[in-house]
């Protein structure tokens, strides 16, 4: 019988999966879904979650996502503020004490960081941004390179297999009627040195702003928008749809918009219900950030641009005429 698969679960705003504030973040739930399918391949190994500072209700709710047990660190000195080295040390310690076959984290900033700390402490390799894995004497994994423009088939040979899961590579798998995860309080042994680096301050997002990664609609702008001022047209449409503005790399390197809005290899990876790509040609570095959108509507003067190969819908024309016309039509209908 294989040891359990341990999953580091990050808490996020959770709105994207309807958990409300303080729920598990969406990529963590995707990671649990992946762990569940992997556990089935390992002859029914248990999936166990590790959370820091989670409410018992949230942790128990992970049962619907396949977790049999939820280990929770509640000691405020460790869990009170995100501390990458301490959280990684706790994960490494639990992996050892549980005899875990694998340890998986979400491919988010925190997930990647915590798993790297755990791997460094355990002295074991880590495969980042995995999209598929086959257990065996040595595990075969498929992982993303170039943010997903290229795939690597690789082997992972270690007593504990450490992975992060590429965002949006698998769907969340929530099953109604599942037994809640058993709550197991955890008190890890943490060196003071591992608590030196921790979050010491927060700056909240601007009031009324919609997070790019949680937005149901993202209105994207590229080189074709042409200037910083012209983004007001995209902002207006995003506002009417309750969505967010996203941009391609050329827009931030021209200084038209802040880097926080960049979608792509060196920016955010988004998975909205609809991505409206305005004046974006569709360079591969941008596509890897938006291809997980359920649907893409391209607004572009060039019917031959690469974005058209990916788009579900298109409007051919100048975005400076099309976007304001769409906003006006929404206003007319919803008056």
């Amino acid at each position: 019988m294989s040891g359990p698969i341990l999953v580091f679960v990050e808490l996020g705003s959770g709105e994207a999966v309807g958990d409300g504030a303080g729920g598990a973040d969406r990529v963590s739930l995707e990671t649990l879904a992946f762990a569940r399918s992997l556990a089935e391949g390992l002859g029914g190994a248990a999936v166990e979650a590790l959370l820091f500072g989670a409410a018992a209700g949230v942790a128990g709710g992970l049962g619907a996502h396949g977790a049999a047990t939820a280990h929770i660190v509640t000691d405020a000195a460790i869990a009170g503020a995100y501390a990458p080295a301490a959280w990684g040390a706790a994960l490494a310690e639990l992996a050892g004490s549980r005899g875990a076959a694998a340890v998986i984290g979400p491919g988010t900033d925190r997930g990647a960081e915590v798993l790297a700390h755990a791997a460094a402490r355990l002295g074991m390799p880590l495969a980042a941004n995995v999209i598929a894995a086959t257990p065996g004497a040595s595990w075969s994994v498929t992982r993303q390179r170039w943010a997903g423009s290229l795939l690597e088939d690789a082997t992972l040979d270690a007593p504990i297999r450490l992975l992060t899961m590429a965002p949006h590579a698998v769907a969340v798998d929530e099953r109604a009627g599942a037994r809640p995860a058993a709550i197991a309080p955890l008190t890890p042994t943490i060196d003071a040195a591992d608590l030196v680096v921790r979050v010491t301050g927060h700056e909240p997002p601007a009031k009324g702003s919609v997070s790019l990664t949680d937005a149901k609609v993202v209105v994207g702008g590229g080189r074709g928008v042409g200037s910083a001022a012209a983004f007001s047209e995209l902002e207006e449409l995003a506002g009417l749809l309750g969505g967010a503005v996203g941009v391609s790399r050329v827009v931030t390197s021209n200084g038209w918009r802040p880097h926080t809005e960049q979608v792509g290899q060196t920016g955010q990876r988004i998975a909205p219900d609809l991505y409206i790509a305005c004046g974006i040609s569709g360079a591969i570095q941008h596509i890897v950030g938006c291809k997980s959108a359920k649907r893409i509507l391209a607004i572009n003067t060039d019917a031959e641009s690469p974005i058209m190969a990916l788009a579900d819908y298109a409007v051919l024309g100048d975005l400076h005429q099309v976007v304001p016309a769409i906003s006006a039509e929404i206003r007319r209908r919803t008056g």
Binding site: S13, P84, T108, A112, E113, L115, A116, A120, M124, P125, L126, A127, A128, N129, R143, R145, W146, L151, E152, D153, D157, V197, R198, T200, G201, E203, P204, P205, L212, T213, L241, T252, S253, G255, H259, T260, Q262, T266, G267, D273, A283, I284, I296, L297, A298, L310, A311, D312, A314, V315, L316, G317, D318, Q321, V322, A325, I326, E329, R333, T334
Partner: protein, 267 residues
């Protein structure tokens, strides 16, 4: 201050990646090379820190002899000196890479004094392992934080800023010496000047031969390494059938019909 920035030579892939026939490498016959984007910002950050507070900046890479080009690019932007951990061109995994860099930092510090700050890119553009900087920090017992889009050097400490999941920012305070992983967006890198390029051409690059993959300090320790590449392949992209909703402003009603159908606009 003494600042070290670690970079990686990667191909400029442009529109479409082409692989070699054996699926082991990207075909770079027709490609130029560059420094990974996050690391370009790391170089710029190192130059700015030294410009503001004085001291010396060093750039380091692990790569083939050809990676000298990226070290000279970094010196053209204002980095003072360069170290090349020269491989045979084979691909090193993150465990081996981190062990070789940690050893080099120890040797460099024994010779020239401690680095107050070591800057890595958050992840390399090509292999994207998200771990080398953290492994080096754990090996050296130094504080580390990744994903940074802001650094402010204080006296004996650094304040770091990164985007919080779901919006807003979170801040960290690290005592120096420290290690940081930076992201694109922390600054807008400058372009090299002609005098900068000329100066960089004349500077010396310190070469430390490290040989083939799997032969470094990590291999000697017997620790498990990897992941081990078997094959590269391009993802299968499902080409969608695009439905043209119309041309120009006249398409607006069709677009809003769609938005209503998707439940994104009230009917």
């Amino acid at each position: 201050m003494r600042v070290l920035v670690c970079v990686k030579r990667v191909p400029q892939t442009g529109g479409r990646i082409v692989l070699t026939g054996d699926g082991q490498e990207i075909d770079t016959k027709f490609l130029g090379f560059t420094i990974s984007p996050h690391e370009e910002c790391g170089v710029e950050e190192a130059v700015r820190i030294i410009e503001a507070g004085g001291g010396e900046s060093t750039v380091l890479t692990l790569g083939s002899a050809a990676a000298e080009e990226q070290l000279r690019d970094a010196m053209a932007l204002g980095i003072d000196r360069a170290v090349l951990l020269e491989t045979d061109g084979s691909e090193w995994d993150p465990v081996s890479t981190a062990a070789a860099i940690a050893d080099t930092i120890r040797a460099q510090e024994a010779a020239g004094g401690p680095f107050d700050l070591v800057i890595f890119g958050n992840e390399s553009a090509d292999s994207g392992g998200f771990q080398v900087g953290i492994r080096v920090a754990v090996a050296l017992g130094r504080p580390v934080v990744s994903g940074l889009k802001g650094l402010t050097i204080g006296s004996g400490s650094v304040t770091a800023r990164r985007e919080a999941a779901g919006g807003g920012w979170e801040t960290y305070e690290l005592p120096l010496p420290a290690i940081v992983g930076v992201k694109e967006g922390i600054n807008l890198p400058r372009y090299p000047s002609v005098p900068g390029r000329l100066r960089a051409r004349k500077k010396e690059v310190e070469r430390v031969p490290v040989g083939a993959a799997g032969t470094g300090a990590a291999a000697a320790s017997g620790a498990p390494m990897g992941p081990t590449k078997s094959m590269l392949r391009l993802p299968q992209e499902a080409e969608s059938q695009v439905e043209i909703l119309g041309r120009g402003a006249e398409a607006a009603p069709a677009v809003v019909d769609l938005l209503q159908k998707l439940g994104l606009v009230a009917r």
